[in-house]
Structure formats: structure tokens, C-alpha cells
């Protein structure tokens, strides 16, 4: 997947629980004076006013691929719509897919990895999740869909921040970070976010995996180490800021400055996503292999992985390997042990 210059149409997936403000963000994107034309794929066709020339109603039809991969589901309607849209190439610059509030983002994302024709013409740019600052904390308790959408996100637009006080805002952010510390988070009122922060992110572009560090809005607010994990309790840090641990959705970060053996690592990673791919929503890694002057990068969605040599390690750049998994009930000990066995001793 190293066709950097190929003119694939970027696709932004817009998710978020019911009422969080997806349509507000969509209309914001469309009405801004960017000179670009978007094809918009929405569900519940025609119900809410969206001001755009090219709007396609989708049915969110998810089906399983018969390739033996248990969690390999794709959006059949998207395959069909992309096929139809490609007959009108040149009439739009980018595609935005808005999902229903209850949708799992994985089948949408997987459609862009599994389907050969879709992949030839389009690339997934990022999953953008709109979250309601007032209600998200509650939804994370009672709606697994909301949790999925946060876990899956590359960008989180934390909306309606004007409806909560500072303490409530800190609380909801901490809950988001407990699930997904890696997404870029933007606090907004009425989805007022710079377009550059949600579009053209290249979140699935291997060439743009630069670093894998937790995203912090204000460095002073959060300075704790996310490499360690807290089990089942709320935990107070220095600044009176709560640190939550989500019971079933976590991120796991692995790091080593010792080189990895590609002949051990690759089969281990393949096997891990085959066996635990149902639990692993997203994965990403920058790897330093033994006797290899190139950085290797990979990223994955559930059981699907793609990876490539990215570039030469720069002089003076620490040759560090970092991996991140976001998922449900991750077998942390087994993953850590497996990873350690890949280190060249």
C-alpha cells in the first residue's frame, strides 16, 4: 500500500452516538468555503436537511465475507455505492460517510481494506467520532456502540462543551482517554472545529504513521504514564485529575529499544490478530527490526493488517519499537509476553 501519489479519493467516516452532533459537523464541513466538492453517504435518507448536491442514501447492510475470518464483516451497500460513485469520478473530491448512531465503525473501515474495487479507487482517511460532552459518560456505561465508536476513532470531536462545567468536562475526557488515549481530541461547541482537524488526516496511511504517542490537549493537565494500567479502580493523580480504567475497553501500549526479530515478530503478530482479532479493534506499530536500517510500520483493523517499510531510520533517531492495541478485554499478559519473545536477545 505504498502508492503515495495515487489519486485515491479520501473517505472520512463520521460516527457518533444519537444526538451527539454528527449532522451539525457534516453541515459545517459542507458549508465551509473550501472549494471542494463532497459526495455524502448518509443513512435515514432525506430526514434531516443536508445541503449538498451529491447525497446518497445508504441502508447500512452489513454482511459477512466467506473468507473464514469470523469478524470480517463489510458494508455491502457501501461497496455498491462506491461502485456507482466511481462512474462519476471528477464530480467530487472526497467522500464523507455518516453512519447511524448505533453503528459499529468496523464494517465501514473493513470495506476499505477487503474490497478490491473499493480499495483501487478510494482510501479511508480517518474515523471521526462526535461525542456529546454532557451525555457521553452515561452512554459509555449503557451503550456498547458508543464505546466502540470512541475506541475506533482517529479524531474525537467532544461537542457541546458549553453544556458542562469544568469538572464534568475533565471527567468525560478522562473516560475517553481510558478507552482511547491516541485519538486527537477537540473540544467544541456546535461542532466548531477547523476542517483541517477532521479532514485529510491520513490516519490509515502507513506513510503518515509518524509517532504513536498518547494525544494530550494540555500537557499540564495530563502527565501520567499510559504504559502502565490500572485495574478496576479510579485513581487520583497529582492535579486532582481522575484517571479511569474502563472495565472492558482498553488500550495497550508496548515499547522496547531493543531490536525485534522479524522472523519471530511477524508470525506472532499474524497469529495474534487471527486469534484475538475479534477483541482488537485497532492496532498500530512502528518497528525497529534487527539488521534493518528501515523503519517498519503497520496498522490494522480487527484481523486485517497492512504493513510496509516506511523509510530509513534517521541519524540520531532512537531505534525504538512501539505498538498500540485498542480493544475489548485484551489478554494483556499474553500479549506482553509474546512481544518480549520477539526481542533479539
Amino acid at each position: 500500500m505504498s502508492e503515495v501519489t495515487s489519486p485515491k479519493i479520501p473517505v472520512t467516516v463520521l460516527t457518533g452516538y444519537l444526538g451527539a452532533g454528527k449532522t451539525t459537523l457534516l453541515n459545517r464541513i459542507l458549508s465551509e468555503n473550501h472549494g471542494k466538492k463532497y459526495a455524502v453517504i448518509v443513512n435515514e435518507f432525506g430526514e434531516i436537511g443536508i445541503d449538498n448536491d451529491l447525497i446518497i442514501g445508504a441502508d447500512e447492510e452489513v454482511f459477512e465475507m466467506n473468507n473464514g475470518c469470523i469478524c470480517c464483516t463489510v458494508r455491502g451497500d457501501l461497496v455498491r455505492i462506491m461502485d456507482g460513485l466511481m462512474k462519476r469520478k471528477g464530480k467530487f473530491d472526497a467522500i464523507i460517510v455518516e453512519t447511524t448512531g448505533l453503528a459499529d465503525p468496523a464494517p465501514v473501515a473493513q470495506t476499505f481494506f477487503v474490497d478490491e474495487d473499493v480499495q483501487k479507487n478510494a482510501r479511508l482517511d480517518a474515523v471521526v467520532t462526535v461525542a456529546d460532552a454532557k451525555w457521553l459518560s452515561d452512554r459509555l456505561k449503557d451503550a456498547p456502540e458508543a464505546k466502540n465508536q470512541i475506541a475506533f476513532a482517529d479524531v474525537i470531536v467532544l461537542n457541546k462543551t458549553d453544556l458542562v462545567n469544568k469538572g464534568e468536562l475533565a471527567e468525560v475526557e478522562a473516560r475517553i482517554r481510558a478507552i482511547n488515549p491516541y485519538a486527537k481530541l477537540h473540544r467544541t461547541e456546535r461542532c466548531s472545529v477547523a476542517l483541517a482537524d477532521v479532514l485529510d488526516r491520513g490516519a490509515f496511511d502507513l506513510d503518515r504513521i509518524l509517532d504513536i504517542e498518547p494525544d494530550f490537549l494540555e500537557a499540564d493537565d495530563h502527565d501520567h504514564d499510559h504504559d502502565h494500567h490500572h485495574r478496576g479502580h479510579d485513581h487520583h493523580h497529582g492535579h486532582g485529575l481522575k484517571h479511569y480504567h474502563d472495565e472492558d475497553m482498553q488500550s495497550l501500549s508496548l515499547k522496547t529499544d531493543k531490536p525485534l526479530d522479524p522472523n519471530v515478530f511477524m508470525p506472532w503478530l499474524q497469529n495474534l490478530v487471527q486469534v484475538e482479532g475479534g477483541k482488537i479493534l485497532r492496532s498500530k506499530g512502528i518497528l525497529a527490526f534487527h539488521d534493518d536500517d528501515d523503519r517498519y510500520v503497520f496498522q490494522g483493523v480487527h484481523m486485517m493488517l497492512e504493513g510496509n517499510h516506511q523509510r530509513k531510520w534517521k541519524e540520531g533517531e532512537p531505534r525504538e519499537s512501539r505498538l498500540v492495541f485498542i480493544g475489548r478485554e485484551l489478554p494483556e499478559e499474553a500479549i506482553r509476553k509474546g512481544f518480549e519473545s520477539c526481542i533479539v536477545s
Partner: protein, 339 residues
Amino acid sequence: MKEFTPAPDSASIVSVTDRVKPIALGMGVTSAHFLADRAAFVGGEEKVALVDAKGEISTVAVHSGGILSTASDGKRLVMGGDDGKVVSLDAKGEVTLLATDPKMRWIDAVALHPDGALAWSAGKTANVKSGKNEEKSIEVPSTVGGLAFAPKGLRLAIAHYNGATLWFPNMAATAEFLPWAGSHLAVTFSPDNKFLVTAMHEAALHGWRLADNRHMRMTGYPGRVRSMSWSAGGKALATSGADTVILWPFASKDGPMGKEPAMLAPLQARVSVVACHPKNDILAAGYSDGTVLMVRLEDGAEILVRRNGTPPVAALAWNAKGTLLAFADENGDGGLLEL
């Protein structure tokens, strides 16, 4: 077809490229058909280009957006668009509006029956308008992937997720459901009415023998099958999707069950479209590198019609007599070959 038999001592492939009349269509092309003796090249959106044997092009506006589906019986070309309309174009170049989806949904599939009946689908609904202009519709469990009329009687096959539905629009009985897990897209009946074959979202075909609904799995393709064509008389089904033409045998009562397909005309490029000659055991194949070949089914002998080095061939069609072959690549660089 004697004149195209390669001489036994010929060192390289026989070429007829110098006999092709080049046609610059100036628009992206998705399929080709013949209306009488004019080739109809269907654009990706809005237009159809009618081209006569001299290479004269006349362009006709048919839709106000993308053209999603086409079917032709040689007398008229029916198209479904993303403007929610079903229109037909006849050999004179006249456009008729046949139907409009009430919600202006995309018309994903269309089919034509030899007696003039028409079928189209939008979302999960398939509609039939018989030759007497009676309109009937049926809802299937998921979005329609493809439509095909049986060669005999008014019977419609509807491909969708997890199988195909067989429907007699004029009968009160409930439609028959042929299950098979996965997403079924294009669908076609064998000309002898004995088999139904679907092209799946996965790189495979699925077939049912209609007498007993026995399954036929036709797998092994590296890519999705987007083009299927029955050979003259229906003895074989030619398909795209591999770097050779895959030809499944359908001459016996068991069809391809337990048999290997023939693999013809291998190239270093994937077959993108196939079209069997209407009378002789010859087919035309277009490839992803722009090559067009004519291939004899019996022994796989090849004749070069168009050289490689362009975008994929998107459109191929023979006229009813089999004397003209029309082709075009995705960018609308096409040609006509008179035999």
C-alpha cells in the same frame, strides 16, 4: 471465421489491429451494446454515444447523472440511473422514460425479457413491467445485486445477500428462495433455462441446477467476476476475473459439477470483460492493460484486436449477426472491427 485461423508456421500472434476503426468517444465508458448496426457506448454518466459502421458518432443524453445499470435486446437499450429513472434508447436514437422511482433512489439493476417485459430494482424492491404495461413489485430481504429474466416464461431471478429469489410475477405463489451465504451481485440464466449462476462479491461464482437446486461452486478466481457471457448455444459460460478467460462447461446435464474450467488466452493482465460471439464458438476478451483478443473456444487460438498500454477495457459487444465487434477502454478510447 476461416480468414482468422492462424497459419501453422506463424511466429507470432495474428493481428487485425490495422483493420480496427478507432473511435475517440471523449467520455468515460462503462459498457457497449448494439442497437441494430450502430454500437451504443454507455458513458459513466449522462450520455450514450451511438457509432455507425463508418465511425460517425452521435451522442444522446439519457440521464441527468450516473448511469448505473444497462440491458439490451438489440432493439432497445434500457438504463437505470442515479437520478432514479429508467430510460430506454432505441435504434433511431430516441429516448423514452420508462419509470421513475418515487423516492428517486438509485436504479441499481435492470433486465429485459425477449417479449418486451422490463425489470428494474431500487434498494430491496424489484419491479416488473410486462409487455402489457402491468407493473408488479416484490421486496427481497436485502438490496438487489442483479436481475435476470429466465429465457422461457415470465420469471425473474433476483440476486441479493445470502442467495437468489426466483419470482413469477404473474403467479400468486410465493417466490422461491435459493440460499447460499454471501453477497450475490450479477445473475444470469443459462440459455437452456437449466442453471442459474450468480457472480458473488467474493471472487467466485455460484450456481444452482434449477431441476433440483443442487449447488455449483465455481471458485479460484484472483479477482471479482464482473463480466459473464454465454457462448453461442449456451454450451459454456465465459468469465472475467482471472489472467485468463475462465470458461465453465455447461453442455452436459450436470453443468460444471466436478469439472475443471477451460483457461484460455493467458496474459500478464487480468481479463476485465468478455463477450461471446452470437453464432460461432469465438469470444472477445478485454484485459486490464487495454489488450483486446479474439479467442477460438475450441483450441484457444488468439487474434490480437487491440494492443496493450491503456486503461482497462470496459466495454465489448458483438452485433446480432456477429459481423461487428465494438470495444472501448475506461477512458473512452474505443474501436470497431468489421469481420
